[in-house]
């Protein structure tokens, strides 16, 4: 009967999440303040793009997070399909909206950063285009998660989609890069700006740590919500089927 309990009442994880959550919040708050301070005060302005390059300190970590979250979803989906561990489904489902938010942010900040440089809000730059496709993969995943009444069916179908999507990400990246070189004369100012000077590198890394801490914090909140919602559903089923 032990594994039965694991489905219905994963108290062990709920306690653990309760502990991790405040720590993640603390790390997030600390690193975001340090990161922002460095991004605006210690890091020099870019000699070509001037102050607008400071958008890089939110754009680049967001793009990293977009890819990181999708990888987490793919790994969690593989674990859930192979070892059928219920927490893997819950973590993949909880990660998706956060990853999608970061993907949207990296697109929006990329467009805001590109406007002064290229004069238009959107340029079919290889990186931006791949991130746009990644956003569609996220939306497809979340739409599939929401398309089933039975939570277990939704989890299994989305797990397969996440894996299929993950296998295709490098192929899409390769195709978009190739397509980009075919049609786009090498854009004068590379998105990444001039070579990364250490004083610019540190804020980037600290902002990246801040975003990861934010991810862990919100992930814990969302996973706890999913697990308690599972318990509520079981109570509802008990009501219906006569306890």
């Amino acid at each position: 009967m032990a594994d039965l309990h694991r489905f219905a009442n994963p108290t062990r994880f709920l306690k653990l999440a309760g502990i991790i959550q405040p720590w993640a919040l603390a790390v997030f708050l600390l690193s975001i303040t340090v990161g922002l301070y460095m991004a605006f005060f210690t890091a020099p302005a870019d000699y070509q793009q001037g102050e607008s390059a400071r958008i890089m300190y939110v754009h680049v970590p967001a793009a990293w997070m977009a890819m990181f979250c999708y990888t987490v979803m793919a790994v969690a989906s593989a674990v859930s399909l192979i070892w059928k561990h219920p927490l893997a489904d819950v973590s993949a489902r909880a990660t998706a909206p956060i990853g999608a938010a970061f993907t949207f942010l990296s697109l929006a900040t990329g467009s805001l950063w590109g406007k002064p440089m290229w004069g238009t809000w959107w340029v079919w730059d290889a990186r931006l285009t791949s991130v746009l496709v990644l956003l569609f993969l996220y939306i497809g995943y979340m739409a599939l998660q929401g398309a089933f009444d039975d939570r277990v069916r939704a989890a299994k179908a989305s797990a397969i989609l996440a894996l299929v999507g993950f296998v295709n990400v490098p192929i899409i990246k390769f195709s978009v890069d190739w397509w980009n070189t075919l049609h786009q004369p090498a854009s004068v100012i590379k998105m990444g700006g001039s070579s990364i000077h250490p004083s610019m590198l540190w804020p980037l890394l600290i902002m990246a740590i801040a975003f990861k801490a934010y991810y862990v914090w919100v992930l814990m909140v969302r996973m706890r919500q999913e697990l308690v919602a599972n318990k509520v559903r079981i109570l509802r089923l008990k009501q219906v089927h006569g306890g």
Binding site: L14, F40, T109, L112, W217, R224, K231, V232
Partner: protein, 54 residues
């Protein structure tokens, strides 16, 4: 101070970028926490016992 705010003439791009990012992250966090609170309340209402992870 306002020299800083001007962002070397790029204020119209730097501040919206940071503002939007802050906004989106805050909204996602707030929604998630609100959902958690609601679910915990329904759970307590249904099962009548204190939700341990509150």
């Amino acid at each position: 101070m306002n020299e800083f705010l001007e962002m070397g003439g790029y204020a119209a791009f730097v501040w919206p970028a940071y503002g939007l990012s802050a906004g989106v992250l805050v909204v996602i966090a707030w929604l998630s926490i609100r959902d958690l609170k609601n679910t915990q309340n329904t759970f307590e209402k249904l099962s009548g016992e204190k939700e341990k992870s509150k």
